[in-house]
């Protein structure tokens, strides 16, 4: 189908990913109150204008460095299965914690939407969030929603639509590291880029290599090694 797009929902545990997923797709996937509830990947469709968005509900994690199988599933989906758009769902009442994962996603892939959920709870707590400033600083759309109250959905769907049509060009902010690390990245990034082409962000893979992430290396070998040898 030419006008079908995959949209992955990522985020910390308990930020309302499944609630958003269910509200948009009309599916009743079981949601729970404690961490790590979503294990297998639920998928469902949303029709929007002339397009079909295939939503994928990723497991909730605090990080994407594959320290656990949940993290590995979410990480691998984003970098290897390459959804057309990745929506990171954040808890509006706990942004500092939630931005750890959000910033990791911004390093991994380009088409990202930062979706700040539980905005109703934040408002009750007197927290106000300026999404324009955040959008400017992060280089990707930031949208406030309340999944439980179905608020903010038209804006979210319209933004997904405008990303897949190319009307919005995401330029995710890249974390700058200490000089020592940046120097090393500069050294290996061209080589990495040569090997993996534009399959994924060479900067991100370089960072993972510097961190000694052997799981990722094995995964890359398994997925792309074959093709490499066939050439």
């Amino acid at each position: 189908m030419g006008n079908s797009y995959r949209v992955a929902l990522a985020g910390n545990p308990n930020t309302g990913k499944s609630t958003l997923f269910n509200a948009l797709t009309g599916l009743r996937q079981h949601t729970g109150n404690w961490a790590g509830k979503t294990v297998s990947l639920a998928q469902g469709n949303v029709q929007y204008k002339d397009k079909m968005f295939n939503l994928i509900d990723l497991p909730g994690t605090y990080s994407l460095f594959s320290n656990s199988s949940d993290e590995e599933v979410a990480r691998n989906y984003i970098v290897f299965e390459k959804p057309d758009v990745t929506v990171v769902v954040l808890d509006a009442t706990s942004l500092e914690r939630n931005f750890n994962l959000a910033l990791q996603v911004l390093e991994m892939t380009k088409n990202v939407i930062i979706c700040i959920n539980l905005i109703d709870v934040a408002e009750q707590q007197g927290i106000s969030i300026n999404e324009r400033i955040l959008t400017n600083r992060l280089g990707v759309p930031v949208i406030k929603i309340s999944a439980r109250n179905k608020k903010g959905f038209p804006m979210l769907l319209d933004t997904i639509d405008r990303i897949v049509t190319g009307a919005i060009e995401c330029q995710p902010v890249q974390t700058t590291y200490a000089d020592e690390i940046e120097d090393k990245i500069k050294k290996i990034e061209p080589k990495v880029s040569e090997l993996i082409g534009n399959q994924m962000s060479a900067r991100w893979v370089s960072l993972r290599l510097l961190d000694g992430d052997e799981k990722l290396l094995n995964e890359i070998n398994q997925r792309y090694g074959q093709k490499e040898r066939a050439e």
Partner: protein, 84 residues
């Protein structure tokens, strides 16, 4: 004003606020703790000790997290307030 007092998280008393200055661990364990919010500069509150003193619950970045001794003994910080 007295000298800032450096303590390990494991030695904090209930109610203490400790601002993290260093994590003396590597690899996956370090990564895990960073992801949970135990980063330099973060303020950690000692919530409670279990009867045997292990694990200890801490509050960091609006979440309560229990750490084992082998982790909490390797995180150092400056004591900001005393508990009651």
């Amino acid at each position: 004003m007295s000298e800032p007092k450096t303590v390990k998280l494991v030695d904090g008393e209930k109610g203490n606020l400790i601002q993290i200055t260093s994590l003396n661990l590597d690899g996956v364990m370090r990564r895990r703790l960073l992801d949970l919010g135990f980063v330099t500069g973060a303020i950690v509150e000692v919530i409670r000790k279990s009867p045997l003193g292990d694990p200890i619950a801490y509050r960091v970045s609006q979440t309560t997290i229990a750490l084992r001794k082998e982790e909490s003994s390797r995180i150092e910080g400056v004591l900001m307030t005393d508990g009651e």
